[in-house]
């Protein structure tokens, strides 16, 4: 969520009220060179190990890391899933899964992370998924090694997340556990893909994915959009006109007449019933056929292991006859 929050911050500032933008409004200058693909770590960790970053730089690690500050709730979920939680010294305050992460004693603000507080923890790895407030550059100045994969720049598919599992496993000396998790995630993705094999283009449903009650959605190029692409669904937001998180007009949504509506905004008070009650929305096929579905926004927006849960849930929703 932080990523599109950051995109919202700028126009918000232009508007009359000069509220301080809590998300931080700096634009990441992480120019990932098109040809450079992140190097996959081998399951058996061999140090020194080099890990690419979203901004084209890379980090070299001579030994497994011992003290991790994770500013990415998705990466935190990965660390817990591979049993590397004993190496975490702090998580960000958005981390709420698993329960141990939510209850983690040391937390760093996700939107305004304090460099000083992070440095005081003497981490040998900071995990960053969003360069909020220029934190990447600040940590570089302190020579703190980063695992920096920007959610909007270089995390495009579920495969990328599985790669994170492998890299973090190698870095934390949890290679075998990470490999087990990675293969099981891969197997589940493959199982979905297999079921989808005989879905013809014309029977794929069209989908409207709602991020909030003012009709922000996800474009095809976004991480969430890639899940729908995997499911062959037709995303009514299309390419978003160059924005990863476009705000659709109500009229365009009704006109696009999606077969399925996926709500990721129950925390904003949007419910299946409140969507049905929106004036004019009864003309939409998804409303007429009761195909509105609420999904936990955390599992579909975070680059963590539960993204595969999201994939399976959406597959079952989009193709009830197949799953």
């Amino acid at each position: 969520m932080t990523a599109w929050c950051r995109r919202l911050a700028l126009p918000a500032l232009i508007v009359a009220l000069t509220l301080a933008a809590a998300c931080g409004d700096d634009e990441t200058d992480s120019a990932l060179t098109p040809g450079a693909t992140p190097t996959a770590a081998s399951p058996v960790a061999t140090f020194p190990m080099t890990v690419e970053r979203s901004d084209g730089k890379s980090e070299t690690f001579d030994a497994p890391v011992e003290r991790i500050v994770s500013l990415s709730p998705g990466a935190t979920e990965i660390l817990f899933a591979i049993g590397a939680e004993d190496r975490i010294v702090a998580v960000d305050n958005q981390a709420d899964y698993p329960a141990e992460a939510a209850a983690f004693p040391t937390k760093v603000d996700a939107y305004e992370p304090s460099i000083e507080a992070i440095a005081a923890l003497e981490p040998d790895l900071v995990i960053v998924a969003d360069n909020v407030g220029g934190i990447v550059e600040s940590l570089d100045q302190l020579s703190i090694p980063l695992f920096y994969r920007d959610l909007d720049e270089s995390v495009q598919t579920i495969d990328d997340v599985i790669e994170h599992v492998e890299i973090l496993g190698a870095l934390t000396d949890r290679g075998p556990a990470a490999e087990t998790l990675a293969s099981s995630l891969r197997a589940r993705v493959d199982a979905v893909a297999e079921q989808m094999q005989d879905v013809a283009a014309d029977e794929a449903p069209s989908v409207y994915h709602e991020l909030d009650s003012t009709l922000y959605s996800v474009a095809e190029g976004s991480f969430i959009g890639s899940v729908y692409a995997t499911l062959k669904a037709e995303n009514i937001a299309g390419d978003g006109g160059g924005t990863l998180y476009p705000q659709l007009t109500q009229e365009a949504i009704i006109d696009a007449n999606p077969d399925v509506i996926v709500l990721a905004d129950e925390e904003f008070g949007v419910t299946i019933d409140s969507v049905k009650a929106r004036p004019g929305w009864d003309a939409i096929a998804a409303v007429q056929n009761d195909r509105i579905y609420a999904i936990d926004p955390d599992i579909i927006s975070r680059p963590g292991p539960r993204i595969v849960d999201a994939l399976e849930q959406l597959a079952a929703q989009l193709y009830p006859e197949k799953f």
């Binding site: 305004e112 009229e251 004019g280």
Partner: protein, 364 residues
């Protein structure tokens, strides 16, 4: 179309308040009304969904009482009647309210920078909305949402506080009131900022509200705002003549037996109430309330009996147009309305400023 600066000719014979007649107000009123109707008609027939004007007309006629037409689909009906028409109506009402309130504020404060958010309406409404958004109450949506009432209450509380603080004895001087409004605004804004940081998972919801706009406009919101605008319009326009006298000299007004403090309070209260209602249903939309009254003054002169109604009509036209741009510049996607109002409003205003080089508001 000569511009009258009050100071330069305080005893202007040709436009002395008593001499303006209905005949001199009617032509600009008719022109502005015609413009508004034309823009509204165009806005209703233009949108992301490609629906031809004839179908649009059929849908609109079908919703008149005792008439029924055919030749359109349920989807077309939903888009025109449930989405586009209320959106245009709400944008028009909010534009009218903000511009009218801006003109009223400028009249009371005799200050060209006065605008409807001056006394803390925006910051107060933001605080009210933020408090709801961070509370568990936020988990209700739709007509029963507590957001608009909370924003409304916050806006009124801020204005009341600013007025109460500025009141020294029996009088309230404009300068003190403005400063007090600025202070209350800062206070509320800092509280909002603090809450946004403290409840960072709700930041987005707060920003979304603050940005405002008409994407989810419904008839019910237009219905809520209309009575506020109507009442405020009657109250302020009834005092338009007094406001004219006030521009010249408060003492002169007092000598004429006008209870200056009472009129000022009444006009401010009416304008603030209407603004609070507009903000509650649409969020914060800048520029309209500040600039539209100036445009009216530049074109039609400074008489408040003209400035007030014409500001409302022109403000409605302007915001409908701005919203049309906001929803069609990037087909199917929204552009923030505040960006559009400033982006098309500012150059137009600068053009007028140069063309009618004498400022219509020469005194502060």
């Amino acid at each position: 179309m000569q511009i009258a600066a009050f100071r330069s000719r305080p005893h202007a014979e040709d436009e002395s308040p008593a001499l303006i007649t209905w005949r001199s107000i009617a032509p600009p009123l008719a022109a502005a009304t015609a413009l508004l109707l034309a823009i509204a008609a165009f806005a209703v027939s233009w949108g992301a969904a490609d629906i031809d004007p004839r179908t649009t007309l059929a849908v609109l006629i079908d919703h008149l009482p005792f008439v029924s037409t055919s030749g359109f689909t349920a989807t077309e009906d939903a888009i025109i009647w449930q989405v586009r028409a209320p959106r245009v109506a709400l944008a028009g009402l909010v534009g009218a309210t903000l511009a009218f309130a801006g003109a009223s504020y400028q009249a009371v404060f005799r200050n060209p920078l006065a605008e409807p958010y001056l006394l803390g309406v925006a910051a107060g409404a933001s605080l009210g909305a933020t408090l709801i958004i961070i509370s568990p109450l936020a988990v209700t949506a739709g007509v029963l949402s507590p957001l608009p009432p909370a924003a409304f209450a916050g806006a009124l509380a801020a204005v009341a506080l600013a007025y109460g603080l500025a009141r020294a004895g029996r009088t309230v001087t404009p300068a003190t009131l403005i400063l007090s409004g600025v202070a209350v605004s800062s206070l509320a804004t800092s509280a909002v900022t603090y809450l946004m940081l403290k409840y960072s998972e709700r930041t987005l919801a707060v920003l979304t509200w603050v940005l405002g706009g008409f994407n989810t406009a419904r008839w019910v919101e237009a219905g809520i705002l209309l009575p506020y605008l109507a009442v405020a319009a009657v109250i302020v326009i009834v005092h338009a003549r007094v406001l004219n006298v006030l521009q010249l000299d408060e003492d002169q007004a007092r000598q004429l037996g006008v209870n200056v403090e009472r009129v000022k309070l009444l006009v401010l209260a009416a304008a603030s109430l209407a603004t609070a209602a507009a903000v509650a249903v649409s969020g914060l939309i800048g520029f309209v309330g500040l600039v539209v009254p100036h445009v009216v003054r530049m074109i039609w002169g400074p008489d408040y009996r003209r400035v007030l109604p014409l500001s409302a009509l022109l403000g409605a036209s302007f915001l409908i147009l701005a919203d049309l741009v906001a929803r069609s510049v990037d087909a199917g996607r929204e552009t923030p309305i505040g960006v559009v109002t400033a982006f098309i409003g500012a150059p137009f205003f600068l053009f007028l400023l140069r063309r009618y080089s004498a400022p219509a508001f020469e005194r502060v």
